[in-house]
Amino acid sequence: MAEVSIKNISKRFKSVMAVSSLSLDIADGEFVVLLGPTGAGKTTTLRLVAGLEKPDEGEITIGGQGMAGLAPSARDVAFVFQQYSLYPHLSVFDNLAFPLRSPARRIPENEVKERVNQVAELLRIPHKLANRSTQLSGGEMQRVAIGRALVRQPSIYLMDEPLSSLDAKLRADLRLELKRIQEELGATILYVTHDQIEAMTMANRIGVINEGSLIQLGSPRDIYENPQSIYVAQRLGQPQINLLPAGLLPSGKLPAGTQTIGARTEHFDIQKKPNGEASVDWIEHLGDQNRLHVNLGERRITTLIAPDSNLKSGDRVALKLVRPLCFSASGERLG
């Protein structure tokens, strides 16, 4: 394991700026998640660290060593791809042993066996080792793919949405497992996803990325509670944050220059009131939570309410904001 430092890297594909002067330091043993929509430059960043792409500018160091011009095989990184992660012509055992048998390592066969068995144990797939990789279920395949990264002890694990092709239940299971394994091994991981839940649950730090730039970097709590811009605020929280013009709702004293107010569930105080200015449009019962849709003039506000709430559609309600997030006209956070 080693610390990884990315300094001002840029990468352009023809007319598209995929990554623009992005800097990021990852400490030894840290789990950093890059969160952003499709096309934000997350995958390109990973590929730059792995050496699959050459940066146009900037430099990457792993364990203090400059990586410029080094081939992927010389970088001591492991990569988990979103898909196509297993070699279909090899058994599960051979897939896991593949990195260890590489010409760059040439580890003796008895040690290969030992390490593959260890990892299989860790991932709870020892009974699948003899299977052909094409006979596995999606969840097992992805476990093996993660295992193939884990058999080595690289400086850093790079993971490109490894859970996105799985169904919701498996995704939740593997999320927990991956976090457990990371803590057990003290692994350094740079993980890329567009799923805010994965980012919130696994990361030590989240980097929110958009159009090739790192917009905000911080702990999950920090990113959620103190977004520095409207963009970051919109990336986190379910249902998505409500953006309202300042002064639309009573909200106490706001900082000067507030143009837009961001309000999540915890910022609302909702009271049933016969002459309230808003009306309940619809309540979605999702089982574990109830989503309340409120019409406020032309606007629609979505928030959560307690399952035992007695609100029903058509009710008039009064809304009040409690210490909401305030943004300037340009979308910057104001205290």
Binding site: S73, Y84, S85, H89, S102, P103, A104, R148
Partner: protein, 318 residues
């Protein structure tokens, strides 16, 4: 009127009548295409008189004469000379003496057959090897003018190869490649390589490049990754391509007639030159053709599974 619904009826499962008619058509087609093959096979076991009798003999007493004549050259001798010889050695000797002849030596069939093997397998190996490397390059790297190059490669097949027979004949004579195995291997490779590049490019395009990237991150060089990851997954395409190349090189007749006469002559131009007394030795021709079919038959059967998948490959998107 009543409508019976049963689970036996299915929209996607063909009805038994449809299955039976399909089977009938396939069998009929197979019989029609196999009739000449059967005729050649049967002729190989006939005696020369039986082979040209009219009406043709469907039922006949099998004879080894065709196979004996195929592998030997014979000279006519007087009955006294033959009687003076000791007892016949082996079946062929006996069969030959019955026609008042003796075996004078081995025929050229065996060396011609070996030439065919060397030239066909050699050119197939070369064409597929060149094809798989070029296809990989076209598939994975940014090559300037790649589309034009691919079109150029394809354009070599836009006229029948035999159209350039005369220039090739003159060229080969000039540089001393006439009637050499190397010359024939190069020629068949040149004809097959465009097919190989195009076929294999399709197969390699379908292999996600993530596999090689994963291998390269895992400590393999690109060349290692190519051999360890790409080649095994392209096995189906390589097998299908190899069969197509081999069939062409194995059966090629026109260039073989034109460019080879001795040293490097292949079996196809040799077989029709087998002449017996008073005309073609049809049983020997039948025997020679039957044996000639065996290598390609074995090769195709060995790679049958790959071939079937290879032909339909890419037809259905997963």
């Amino acid at each position: 009127m009543s409508i019976t619904l049963s689970t036996a009826h299915s929209v996607v499962e063909p009805s038994s009548l449809a299955k039976r008619s399909a089977g009938f058509i396939v069998i009929l087609y197979a019989l029609i295409t196999m009739a000449p093959l059967f005729w050649i096979f049967a002729t190989g076991w006939k005696t020369p008189p039986d082979s040209i009798s009219y009406p043709p003999k469907i039922v006949f007493g099998p004879s080894l004469e065709g196979y004996c004549n195929l592998f030997t050259t014979r000279t006519r001798q007087t009955a006294d000379y033959i009687n003076a010889l000791g007892p016949p050695q082996g079946t062929c000797d006996e069969v030959t003496r019955r026609r008042e002849m003796v075996i004078a030596g081995a025929s050229n069939y065996a060396p011609r057959f070996v030439n065919s093997l060397i030239i066909a397998f050699g050119s197939t190996f070369l064409a597929v090897t060149l094809g798989v490397f070029s296809a990989y390059a076209f598939s994975r790297f940014k090559i300037p003018l790649a589309d034009d190059l691919l079109f150029f490669i394809l354009s070599t097949r836009m006229m029948p190869p035999i159209a350039v027979a005369i220039p090739i004949y003159l060229m080969y004579r000039e540089i001393g490649l006439s009637d050499t195995k190397l010359g024939m291997i190069l020629l068949y490779t040149a004809v097959n390589v465009s097919l190989a590049v195009w076929l294999l490019k399709g197969f390699i395009d379908e292999i996600p490049k993530e596999y090689e990237e994963a291998a390269m991150i895992d400590g393999y060089t690109r060349l290692h990754a190519f051999f360890k990851v790409v080649l095994p997954q392209a096995a189906t395409g390589i097998a299908a391509t190899a069969i197509f190349c081999l069939i062409f090189a194995w059966n090629e007749f026109a260039f073989a007639v034109l460019l080879t006469s001795g040293e490097a002559q292949t079996a196809p131009p040799f077989i029709p030159t087998i002449i017996g007394e008073g005309g073609m030795d049809w049983p020997a021709v039948g025997a020679g053709t039957t044996l000639f079919l065996i290598p390609i038959l074995v090769f195709t059967i060995l790679l049958r599974k790959h071939l079937l998948r290879g032909i339909t490959f890419g037809a259905v998107r997963k």
